[in-house]
Amino acid sequence: MNLNLLLQLAVSGFLLGGVYSLIALGLSLIFGVMRVINFAHGEMMVWGMYVAYTFLLWTGVDPFFSFLVSAFVLFILGYFLQRTIVNRILDFPEAMQVLPLVGMAMVFENSARIIWGPDYISPQSRFALSSLSIGNLIIDTPRFLAFALAIIITFAVLLFLKKTDMGKSIRAAADNRLGAFLVGTNVNQVYAICFGIGTACVGTAGGLLVPIMPLSPHIGAPFTLISFIIVILGGMGSLTGAMVGGFVIGVAESIGPELITNIFHGIGLDLDFPQTMKQVVSFFILIVIMILRPQGLLGGKKG
């Protein structure tokens, strides 16, 4: 087994995990406050990617700065999505909440296809080809930058929720909708802003991913699923859980295929586990965690 390769994969997965954390943070925030699962999460991330890309085309600003534009546009989108649709389904049975958001996922995915075309695009960041090396390890700069920014933004969002008045209202509405309403919080407004912040998180993550991976309208769904896996792994509604889960899944997807191939060869099976099957690792983790620990690694209450 090539340990150096595994370490290299682990580091690269860990860095991507930082971005995964930010994606999952958005989902977890929305779920924690409204008890709604945003099935259009990955598709909205793709919109964030395309916004950053379009901004790059128009102004030449590097995606590592234009993620702020993605965040802003996605905040507006999320805000109005909550106001028009999500707010109406809050009291629906859990199962019926899934379908409208699945419908919105189709709308986002295919409208992106109509607006930006079906082909893969990979815009260049100015840092694209540079890399850092630490000992034997090689780290490409875009990935590292995306990681660092994602972590900074994640902490900024957590700080916002802890310290500001709006953050406190959001947490109050999450703890007790009726209570928050009774002390004069405009719950609908708070919910819409919270949904907007959640989608702004995923929009930001999309902007950060632009220099790392090629974008196409149809890459959203796997990210929706990944963020569910991370959130369930970390614990539904637990924001720190989302961060931990992001790193676990990032690393697991990265080293999983190589590790499993080695195990297959080790027990004498002539089987490869190709990198294109890395999602199987995540889904397997999801099934196991739902069976053994449905409240997630860091979730408090059961279920």
Partner: protein
Amino acid sequence: MKRLYLLLLIGFLILLILPRVLSSYVLGIFIMIFFYAYLGQSWNILTGYTGVISLGHSLFVGIGAYMTYLLTLTLGLSPWIGMWIGGIAAGLIGLVIGFFGFRFGMKGVYFVLLTISFAEIGRLIFLHLKIFGSFQGLFITPEFSFGNFQFKGNTPYYYIGLGYVIFSLISVRLLERSKIGRYMVALREDEEAAESLGVNVFKYKMIAIFISAFMTSLAGAFYTNYLFYLHPGTMMSMAFSIEIILRPIIGGMGTVLGPVIGSFLITPLAELSRSYFAKAGYEGLHLVIYGFLLVAVVLFFPRGIITYIKRALAKVLIGTK
């Protein structure tokens, strides 16, 4: 009730003679109507009657299609026999999913994610199997004969598709009236109440998922031998699962006629808008419309179109029940 049956009989007789007057293109649309009505009906057994939402039914279509093909390839077995074996295979996979889901108390979104997980794992595995053509997909060279389930022209497929629909209508109607069906509805409405009255919730959910998976996979054999092309990326994707569930939701879940009505409404719309928008250069626009439809139906007609049709037909059917 008698008048409703009479109405259905008239509809059936009209459908029987349609191939004599319709063009092959229109017959193709009818075949898709039957195909999706049948799939929706199979999904309806699990989700409509038992209330357990599955977003992974494409897995069962895939298992049915590939099993049937594999049995023809290796044993030379006719698809007419192979499809039942494929059905049992899919039913067993359904039982595995059900066991994990129902034994460990996964409800609502958790069960949805479980079905998606299994479907995605299945899709990725099939996508990497060399025997099924890996990423290129599988092209089947048809040898036209009844035994091979392969025919020239659309007319035979039309009648087979119609047969599928009739088969599903009768099975679901029988199920609905049986004790099993009544238990299923009881546990959908209130699981704890049903359990406290002695209904073995786990057992009846397992029965529902087995029947549903079994019936869904029978459509796989039809799919293979109608299109002569198999690819996990289309037939086993989540998008296909959504196609399956769209029609029964719009028509009315938990009713015998809902999926059929939904398919008659949506499938022609889908087929026509797909080709129209693709010609106009807006490929994918029909899916945007689909998405909004799904939102609108859940928000405004959560019980499906069938309630409105029932109300409109009440006059015709008066004195029925």
